[in-house]
């Protein structure tokens, strides 16, 4: 047994906020049994991943060791923790464990992809534990911004680990269980080897606020509104939806849910009994017949997503409902970095309609779901572990959290994706590096982020694309003129002639003069034609386009 080791290995989430995937291993070196905590996704953007649908962690390392995986444990149902469960099921095949609400969401995903729903195992919460190889894993309820979030207690022969999951210290979270320092204190009592801990809000200097604080503010805001009211928040923030809906009801407004994600989340929360007494709702069809001052719309799309209900309401109509002068739109949400332009676009469109927009800048209508700096310090003290390993953060978060840990007189380990941390002995150490990366879900296909597919798209977007077709006869002589098709390029340039004609003329001249040796060599012709297109384009329009050349030979 003395040669067994315990390790922690992040494959995603330690270097970005998103696509969480953490591995724990225990056993003889290179034969460790493995468990996976969370399998999440990130969202693409036009800058780095145009056309991509979702980003997931590269799980090749896990796939190569699939026979050693004893279970996948999902802490909660946010997409960055659960989103890749169905997308990776074919390749990992391990049993998946989650609390009832999380399992409900996971089953819907499995079903959509044609996977067996019963691969999802519903677990009871702590003090129950699931035996998974050498690991015993308990789901301890912890407050966050979605029902039934859990921190994990992971008992191993080498000692107890705590994996915080996403959390905040909320004694009154409206929906879901409050943070319970006593329970965590009991868990910590026997000694915790390592705490692997959420870093999201390490830069927020003040103690976090409770979900319950928002109710009176929102109620007052809605009471004073004279027109229609729309509120948007994350669809999964069921507590917030309840607060918003109750404030609406108190202000004499009927509640209408807009957006599929929101209806599904409410449905799942009701099915699993975590959401009780949600006000009754009206359909969008019925809403049209209700006076606007008696209506509250709860809409998806708080991050400015183009196809979500909020964007459509801002842009025109959604399901026949149209906003107008004197209506109010509340962002009960924070804009995630990178989404500012999309959110601002919506705000400007609403402004054009004369709608008054209220955002979270006052602090009255939104609280975060993550532990702030002082809350992290308190949690460190409650768990009182030998070692703290920050996770769930970009490098800057992990580094600041590690510093915070060390300022508190504890040992912090800055571990990024792919870094295997040996936790066996008294001092944690880096015991290896695993190749990690990103996998893109692109349409229905998963491709590697470095495969070049997306790089080519970016190049076409930046430079435009020219396709050249040339036909050569049996004597290697050009048959007619070469042909160019332009895509994403200006039609005319410096010489005021059509760019396509200038290009075809230059290509034609080249083919007319090329020597016999060149004309026998497709690669040489292609390279020459490409070079001519790029040079002529640079002269004409100041750009060097991407070029594809097709040489056809009659032979």
């Amino acid at each position: 047994m003395s040669s067994d080791r315990l390790f922690y290995l992040p494959l995603g989430g330690a270097g970005e906020i998103g696509m969480n995937a953490y591995v724990y291993g225990y056993g003889p070196e290179d034969q460790e049994r493995l468990i996976v905590v969370d399998l999440g996704v990130s969202f693409p953007d036009m800058d780095s991943s145009p056309g991509v649908d979702l980003i997931l962690p590269d799980i090749a390392w896990l796939e190569d060791r699939k026979d050693r995986i004893d279970g996948v444990f999902i802490t909660h149902a946010h997409e960055d923790h659960i989103g890749a469960v169905a997308l990776t099921y074919d390749r990992l095949g391990a049993p998946i464990y989650a609390r009832p609400f999380t399992a409900n969401i996971a089953r819907r995903k499995m079903d959509e992809h044609g996977h067996p729903e019963d691969a999802i195992n519903v677990v009871a919460s702590w003090p129950d534990q699931i035996e998974a190889g050498p690991f015993s894993v308990g789901f301890v309820p912890i407050s966050h911004s979605i029902p039934e979030s859990a921190g994990l207690v992971i008992d191993t022969p080498a000692g107890r680990l705590v994996h915080s999951g996403d959390f905040k210290l909320d004694p009154t979270p409206i929906v879901g269980e409050p943070f319970d320092a006593d329970v965590w204190g009991q868990i910590a009592k026997s000694g915790v080897k390592a705490l692997v801990c959420d870093s999201t809000n390490v830069f927020s200097p003040n103690a976090g606020r409770s979900e319950v604080e928002l109710g009176p503010n929102i109620a007052e805001l809605f009471r004073e509104a004279s027109g229609m009211v729309v509120a948007t928040t994350f669809a999964s923030n069921v507590a917030r939806l309840k607060t918003l809906a109750e404030a609406g009801t108190a202000a004499g407004r009927s509640i209408c849910l807009l957006g599929r994600a929101m209806r599904r989340m409410i449905e799942a929360a009701v099915e699993e009994g975590v959401l009780k007494d949600f006000p009754s709702t009206v359909s969008p069809e019925d809403a049209k017949h209700i006076p606007r001052e008696n209506l509250l719309l709860l809409a998806t799309g708080s991050q400015g997503e183009r196809r979500a209900a909020s964007a459509q309401l801002a842009n025109g109509k959604y399901m026949g409902i149209e906003l107008t002068d004197g209506d109010m739109f509340l962002f009960s949400s924070k804009t995630i970095p990178g989404n500012e332009k999309s959110v601002i676009r919506i705000i400007n469109q609403l402004s054009e309609k004369g709608v008054d927009v209220v955002d979270d800048s006052s602090g009255l209508y939104h609280v975060s779901g993550h532990a702030n700096r002082p809350d992290l310090q308190r949690f460190h003290e409650v768990i009182d572990p030998q070692v703290i390993v920050p996770m769930h953060g970009e490098h800057r978060h992990l580094r600041a959290h590690t510093k915070l840990v060390e300022e508190g007189g504890r040992t912090g380990v800055l571990a990024v994706n792919g870094m295997m941390i040996d936790l066996t002995g008294n001092a944690p150490r880096v015991s290896g590096y695993v190749e990690t990366g990103r996998t893109y879900l692109d349409g229905s296909v998963q491709i590697g982020a470095l495969d070049g597919v997306v790089r080519n798209r970016i190049r076409m977007a930046l430079n435009g694309h020219v396709m050249v077709t040339a036909i050569l006869d049996e004597e290697d002589e050009p048959l007619g003129e070469p042909w160019c098709e332009l895509s994403g390029l200006p039609e005319t340039g410096r010489s005021n002639a059509a760019l396509v004609e200038v290009l075809e003329e230059d290509l034609s001249q080249f083919l007319g003069r090329a020597d016999a040796k060149t004309m026998r060599n497709d690669d040489a012709i292609e390279e020459a034609l490409r070079r001519i297109v790029r040079k002529t384009s640079q002269d004409e329009i100041g750009k060097k386009p991407e070029v594809t050349v097709v040489i056809s030979r009659l032979s």
Copy 2:
């Protein structure tokens, strides 16, 4: 004379923060003489304008009336006010007026584009006025974040107008003239018909702070730094550069300027005498031999621009200088919405190097160059105009500023790009709408934003691109197989065969079976091949690519 009218017409800047271009007209309807205030650019992004170099306002309306333009007046040398001066000179040709520092920057632009530098006229400041047709225009010094900013006094036969330019109320701006309420009060004394006013910071609730407040904070920060220090800010913020450099000198550090834009701005400011006593600097080559604790680098790229000095320092080396553990990097700047991801990328790269990053979140190291809400109210009172027309803002800013004006008991006019506001009588009114838009500088060519060029780039980036080549013989029969080239698409899909082969097989089958009538019709074949490519791709990879078909006929 009674039929003469005075109007205000924004062509850019009233609906976005960027590409400012405001027109004033006076005279008989449709024969008004015109002046233009500012000709600026905006910056493209990957989401909406991939591959574009700069965005400028569509000046077609002005170009059609170029013989009626009596002058172009540039308030200050920020790119969103001056950036299009040289790019539009060919099409407008009007004389350009600016104060010496602004003119210096403008001349550099004209020179780069091969235009005559003497099209730029250097003007003295208020109380001097330039006669331009029926207008007399005076440049009144006003504090902002670049030297020699000016608000304009525009006297017309119908009364006096004030065009604020970009401004703040700074009594101690370090470089450039302080805000002088007495001068503006004198200007206002005889009555102001309309104030056209900067709206940028209408959402900032507290009074603005002076540039002078930063000096002691920055000096203390630099004094306590133990390694190399890098500070970034806008290259044009000469006052800030001076504050940073003086703080560096006081901390015993040599100053090194990194980035062409920064060196040029300092050079221009020194040439024109607006910057005095700037500490002496060392070259990057010399900087390499100075102990890191004795060095302050001032670097371009505060917005995360990929090719600027800051990004290169974060990513690796810049001119042989490399950052390391214990160095400090100060963002003496605010991140403009939309640039968050780029800035955060740099911060994370610096974090990986162990560099401590200090940003503006404490408020200690950056102040804005624009008037905040209470400052706007104060300026309204000082100018005391009949009407206030908010400019320099997105719709949300213009709307909020208009409301602020009305809350102050004045008449506000919400005028967006293309809206012609008749200011002749006592009540302003919308007298027409002019078609406006955006022009893209793309390489060396100017194209319309709606020409479809950029739309095609975006489509290729989102969907990938398939090029199909088919050759038909004299009998309209396919000669060999059709050929596909893929760009930006996965190589294999659902059937595990190469996508290109699956496509070619399907296209070949179609051509083999198509009837004679179809085979005689290029459009019909193209349409059919395109449909097949899209359908097969959807089946195989879940995406419908852009398709270009080239049919070549031997005839």
